[in-house]
Each structure stands twice: as structure tokens, then as C-alpha cells.
Symmetry: C2
Subunit: 305 residues, 2 copies
């Protein structure tokens, strides 16, 4: 196999109650990543996008992830990579993770799958380190595994695939830029123990609700008194979007990753569509541009096209 | 029905990674609680134990829980209650919860079950308030529901029954006294966000491991960098007990509630028995008296005898 194309989905991390450990994969939007074996050593990056992403492989998240792959498999070959980005960088729905995960999963398929999914997430983490300066896999893991995924530990990496019921996500992406580093700088270094207990009680309940398919419990558990209260200040009308989504029948929701995208979870596509209209209305009277996606939570991660 | 006897099991709360929200019910030890309807109003407490527990119903955990029950059902009757305590007060395996939960569940059965399990836990909380000064249900809830239970919120009370695989607990109770208030005073008011994230990642993974029956994941998830490091100083040879239990094949374990009891979880009764010998050896060379219990994790809470 000298050339393949994979599809790498957008992902939602944090999911309100699972800061830095929980995420899920969408069906739409996604990036398309084409890899070609090359006799030239190292990685050559070609971009088919309007985002001005770097083509220097040492400054490109897919480039450094692929280089990490090559460093493990041996340096007697190289890759040419072509990325068609549909997931806008900086949107908060795992754009860098899709590039990095898509690249290493594609390379793995080309070479007869020498690496496990966990090893691929480890390799792709080089890309996330470049993008955000921190070692985190809560977008990478759902992008690679699909579905709902919990990262129990990021060093060493320990990824837990979660059972989950049929669920639909509505994503709204207001076109403002929030740098992950800026969103991280707002976080407190210490938190009240009582808030931490509330948070882990909710995450435990959320995981139980996923396992039992208890939609109402999922809704009650999407509560966060630590991260969202400080980050919501970065997103215009954040509370209004959430209130409109809930009023339209969503189970719950909040900020996706470090924002600016927000997500709402619903028990059916019909409700997710109604939620899309409702939360769109919050911005449609403003000058703010926005995109909306409605997507089933997919149990498929990166896959061959 | 003018008289009934119920059996109220001991419980393990916190379970290392679920401080203040997670607990499970044992089969052994248990308290026996006999209730009689009485024409005399209010609660009359009779004790069949050597622990010197108060018989003044306003100072007795079962007494105040029953009074809360009577306050809801109407004051035209009363109860006589006789408690045969096998769960030593102050042992850290839910002695006060067993008294309070047993009393209200028994009363509920006598009156045709007017209250749900959650309402009974709410009523029994009056007993826990008396015993420890704090509103917590992480022993009460598993005592009433049986099995593994997560308290998502204690105000309002929201209790989540968890799916769990066959598991066995080995409990060792060194005969020292630790007051819950003393153990609580050690706790930090604030914790590093990074520790909190690690804790909720582990609790999420533990709940997932219970749901999928993944014993190895349960073992990896019983980690706590916040509570146990400070509380273990109150328990002689705490780390040695844990190490001996792990070496004997236990999946994991730690302090039960606020101690001094410790628990280890195992995948079979045979391993749990081996663990019992191993952790007993840690204390058997010392002057410290101790009790050991081996118990299946029971899906039965308080029940009629």
C-alpha cells in the first residue's frame, strides 16, 4: 500500500464533568488525510486548506506525530502527507488531535498495524505537545478509538473505552479565537476540596449513566463548578446558549474543550436538530459568525475512506 | 406487623478513589435491629451490646433516624428499638450508618413501605449528622441499597446504583480509635487541580471497571493522592498492610471510610482468604489487637431476618 486516505473525526473533550480526561468522537466535521510513502526520508507536509497551517514538518502537529512514528519504525523511508482540514484550528473540537491522530493511524495501516491504539495515541501526543504545550490525550483518544473514552492516566497512558447509549451532539462554533494556552492560564492552581468532591461525584455518575443508558442521569451529571465558571467568560453568551439548549430539550452541555465551541447532548437526532435551531438563535441576532453541526456520537474513530 | 427484625450490613465508604461519594455493602459483619410498635409516643432505645451507646433517643443515631421517620408519618404511635451491635462503633465500616439505616428500613417495612430508598437514606441522614456532624450518605446508601453505590449529590440526595462484578472484600480492623472528626480535621481545604484531575480520572475509570467487570482496571484505579496520604498517618503500618494485601493477590485497597479499618478487594474468595492471612501477619507480631472479615460484596442491603 503506497497511498491511503483516512478520515479523522472532530472530538469534544472535558464534557463538562470530565476536565482533562473525558472525550467523545463526532461523525461530522472531520479531516481527510492522505499519506504517501516516499523514498525521501522524513515528512513532507502538503496542505489543502485556507488556514495557513505550517508546512515545516517540525512545526506541524501531523508532521511531528508522523516523525515520532518514523523514529519508532526506522528511518529507511518517509511520508508525504496531504491534509484537507474541515475542522478549523482553534475551534475547540480537536482540530490538532484529528491531524495528529489521523496521520499516525494512517501510517499504521500502511505498515500492517504494528502499533496498538494506545501506542498510536502515545505517538500522536507529540502533536498535542506541539499544539498546546501539554501532554493530554482527551481529544486524541476518542479520535483514535471512537465513542466515549476516558483517559485514566496520561503518563503512562491508560485509555478506557466506555460503553454508551445512542446520543446526539449539537455543536456551535462561534468564530472567535481562544488559545488553549489563554484558556489554561485562567485555571486555578488549587481548588476547594468540596468542589473537587462534587466534580468527581458527577464524573462517576456520568460514567455510570453512560453504562446504564440513563439519559436523565447524564443530564444531571453534566455539572462543573471549577472550570466552566472561569472559562465561560471567554465565550460570548455562553450561559444563554446553554440555557437555550436545555430549554429545547438537550440533556446537558457546556464548553467543548477549552472553547469557543460549545456542545449540547440530546437523546435523539430530532431533539439535537431542535437544539441547533434554538442555540443558533442566540447568535443569529448578533454580529458573530458561527457554524453549527449536528452529529451522532460515533463509535468509529479514524478510519479508511 | 407489630415486631420485626432486620439485618443491617457493614459498609466500606470512599473506596480509595471515591472520597465522600462511593461505598459498598459487605455481608459480614452486620447489626441486628428489632423494632416493636409501641403505644408510647416517640422512640425507646434498648441496647444489647457492650459498647455503651446512648439510650437517650435524641443522642442515639438509630433514635434520631426513627424520630425523623415518625415526624414524617405522624406522631400517633411510637417505637421500641433493640440493637444487637456486631459492627463496632468507630471501626470505619459504617457502624452508625447500619444503626440508622436498619432502623428506618425496618420501620418502613412495618408501615407498608411508604418511603422510597432515597427517602429512607434522607431520613437516616439525621443519624449520620448526629454521629459525625456532616451530611454524608456514602455509608448509608450502600447499607440501604446493597452493592456498590455512588452518591452523586448529598443535597439534594441523588443516589446511583452501580453495576458490579463478583468481588470479595477483606477487612482488617486494628483496635485503635480514630474519631471521624479527627480524620476530617486532617484534610486540606484546597487541593492542587492536578491532583483533583487525577482523582476524578481514577473514579471515572473505577466506575467503568465496575460496569465492564474489568478487575485489572479496578486495581489500577484505586489510587488517591489527596486523602489517603494524610490519613494513613493515623493507622499503624497502613502502607505495610496494603503492600501485603497486594502481594497476596488483591486488586487494590486502602482505608475504609476514615479508618482505622482497611479493606482489600479481590476477584475470588480464595484470594480474599489468602489476603486475610497476609495482612493479619502484619499485625500479628505486634501488640495491636485486630479483627479480620472476609465478605462477598453483597447486592443486598438492609433485609428482614
Amino acid at each position: 500500500m503506497d497511498q491511503i486516505t483516512v478520515r479523522a473525526p472532530a472530538t469534544v473533550s472535558n464534557v463538562v464533568c470530565g476536565f482533562d480526561c473525558l472525550g467523545f468522537a463526532l461523525t461530522d466535521p472531520y479531516d481527510l488525510i492522505t499519506l504517501r510513502k516516499s523514498t525521501r526520508h522524513g515528512v513532507t507536509v502538503l496542505h489543502l486548506d485556507n488556514f495557513g497551517l505550517p508546512t515545516d514538518p517540525t512545526k506541524n502537529v501531523a508532521g511531528v506525530a508522523l516523525q515520532a512514528f518514523l523514529d519508532r519504525t526506522g528511518p529507511d523511508h518517509g511520508f508525504e502527507i496531504e491534509i484537507t482540514k474541515h475542522i478549523k484550528p482553534g475551534s475547540g473540537i480537536g482540530s490538532s488531535a484529528a491531524s495528529a491522530a489521523g496521520a499516525v493511524v494512517g501510517a499504521n495501516i500502511m505498515f500492517g498495524e504494528p502499533f496498538s491504539k494506545t501506542e498510536l495515541a502515545e505517538l500522536a501526543m507529540a502533536g498535542e505537545m506541539l499544539a498546546s504545550g501539554s501532554r493530554h490525550a482527551d481529544n486524541l483518544a476518542p479520535c483514535i478509538y471512537g465513542g466515549f473514552v476516558l483517559v485514566r492516566s496520561s503518563d503512562p497512558l491508560d485509555i478506557v473505552e466506555l460503553t454508551f447509549p445512542s446520543l446526539f451532539a449539537t455543536i456551535i462554533h462561534p468564530q472567535i479565537e481562544i488559545k488553549t494556552s489563554q484558556a489554561r492560564a485562567l485555571l486555578p492552581s488549587h481548588v476547594p476540596l468540596s468542589d473537587a468532591v462534587r466534580n468527581w461525584s458527577n464524573l462517576g455518575a456520568f460514567v455510570a449513566g453512560l453504562a446504564s443508558g440513563d439519559h436523565a442521569l447524564l443530564g444531571r451529571s453534566m455539572v462543573d463548578t471549577i472550570i466552566e465558571p472561569v472559562r465561560s467568560s471567554l465565550i460570548p453568551r455562553c450561559d444563554e446558549v446553554k440555557a437555550a439548549g436545555l430549554a429545547a430539550g438537550a440533556l446537558g452541555g457546556g464548553i467543548s474543550g477549552s472553547g469557543p465551541s460549545m456542545f449540547m447532548l440530546s437523546s435523539s437526532r430530532q431533539i439535537a436538530d431542535t437544539v441547533a435551531s434554538a442555540i443558533g438563535n442566540v447568535y443569529s441576532g448578533t454580529e458573530l459568525d458561527f457554524n453549527i453541526y449536528v452529529s451522532e456520537i460515533s463509535s468509529e474513530g479514524v478510519r479508511l475512506v
